[in-house]
């Protein structure tokens, strides 16, 4: 059994926009999440998830990173928004249904309202995509899902 709470408790997203399955590793400013590419998932077409769509997976990993930080501190999850993607590299064109992805995000710097994260998505052991994201953190949700 995972030492971490269900992912839906750590991010403000709701189905069908929850693209991550579980949190697998966390330390302050660092997170690693995992997910399997599913035929019915958002952004999957003809069994393929194209690399540019993984920006959303990266942003959700950042949300989980900050969400777990808040969860440990007894605070609510905050709504956030991608402000900029300064760099993005697609190392592979796409992932296929059934592929296992790991999404890692590491905070480079940040404050209460803006954070900068270096993110990487791996397909199995291969680098799939990487990006540098800046995110704005907004209000705290009034209730977490039970």
């Amino acid at each position: 059994m995972s030492e971490f709470p269900p992912i839906a408790h750590l991010m403000p997203h709701r189905e069908p926009m929850v693209l991550l399955d579980r949190l697998v590793d966390w330390s302050p400013g660092h997170v690693e999440c995992a997910t399997r590419v599913r035929e019915t998932a958002r952004f999957v077409e003809d069994g393929l998830l194209l690399a540019p769509f993984t920006i959303e997976h990266m942003a959700q990993a950042v949300a989980v990173c900050l969400g777990y930080e808040a969860y440990r501190g007894g605070r609510g999850v905050r709504v956030g928004m991608i402000v900029s993607c300064r760099t993005f590299e697609a190392h592979l064109d796409s992932a296929s249904t059934g592929d296992e992805l790991t999404i890692r995000a590491d905070r480079e710097r940040g404050n209460e309202t803006l954070s900068h994260f270096r993110c990487e998505v791996r397909r199995g052991k291969e680098a799939f995509a990487s990006a540098t994201l800046t995110l704005f953190h907004g209000e705290t949700l009034s209730q977490n899902p039970s």
């Binding site: 402000v83 803006l114 907004g138």
Partner: protein, 265 residues
């Protein structure tokens, strides 16, 4: 495959200088601390950000020199961070102050704000696009513009610029000051032989501006961190009549450069 496009106009806005010529001469002008954006009608100008106005000045100069038809010329606008100051201000307003957002400010917070403003101001029906590629923005904007010239025979104005980044958007010590630059391109066959040509956009070492008369080293260094500086370096080289391989960034990008030469060189 070899290709070549002609350069038929240039422009720039650097605060405190009268256009590209003022900057090249290194003659400060207290009358040009802010962009005038006279190409834009007053009502639109009032709503425009400092970046959009600075883009408008560089664009207008390149358009004027090229004598392109303002209503049909294609345009490419490159900026690494775009209207980030307006956007972060709106987000602060929305979530920090819980205030109602201004629809006008929202309309000018998008990455293609300058593109939209100028196409409306000049009644332009040509192709226009806005893009960002971090420190490779000048190279990628040029690539897009050159592609339009070669593939469609278009006359194109490529304009790049970045405003000073809002606090906390970039790490301490890597901020920069506002500048914009523009270059007018057309098929080589449509331009006089006296116009310089561009060819070979490549990853290769190239020269860039390293000093400027009348500009302190600090100011030059601060401006040199601007992600759009590569296009200003290129138009300065063109205005000075320099030739050779010109760098499109100052070491923070991937190292793109372009060959600048005369006809049949």
């Amino acid at each position: 495959m070899t290709w070549e496009v002609a350069v038929v106009g240039c422009g720039a806005f650097v605060p405190g200088f009268a256009g590209l010529s003022g900057w090249v001469r290194g003659e400060p002008s207290p009358d040009h601390l802010t962009a005038r954006a006279e190409i834009v009608p007053k009502r639109q100008r009032r709503r425009a950000s400092s970046l959009s106005k600075a883009v408008a000045d560089a664009y207008a100069d390149a358009l004027g020199e090229s004598k392109f038809d303002a209503a049909s010329v294609a345009s490419v606008f490159g900026s690494a961070i775009g209207e980030a100051t307006t956007m972060v201000g709106l987000l602060d307003q929305m979530w920090g102050d819980a205030a109602m957002l201004s629809p006008m400010r929202f309309a000018t917070s998008v990455h293609n704000a300058a593109s939209g403003m100028l196409s409306i101001a000049t009644d332009n029906r040509g192709i226009t696009t806005a893009m960002g590629a971090d420190y490779d923005t000048p190279a990628m904007a040029l690539l897009e513009g050159i592609g339009l010239v070669l593939a469609r025979g278009e006359s194109v104005i490529v304009c790049c610029g970045d405003e000073a980044p809002p606090e906390d958007l970039v790490a301490d010590g890597v901020g920069w000051s506002l500048m914009t630059a523009a270059i007018a391109l057309c098929p080589s066959s449509d331009a006089p032989a006296s116009c310089p040509r561009l060819s070979e956009l490549m990853i290769a070492p190239g020269e860039h501006l390293s000093s400027q008369p009348g500009i302190s080293e600090n100011q030059l260094e601060e401006m040199g961190r601007n992600p759009s500086i590569g296009l200003l370096d290129l138009v300065v080289a063109i205005r000075e009549g320099t030739r050779g391989v010109r760098a499109l960034d100052r070491g923070a990008g991937r190292g793109y450069s372009v060959r600048l030469h005369g006809v049949a060189e």
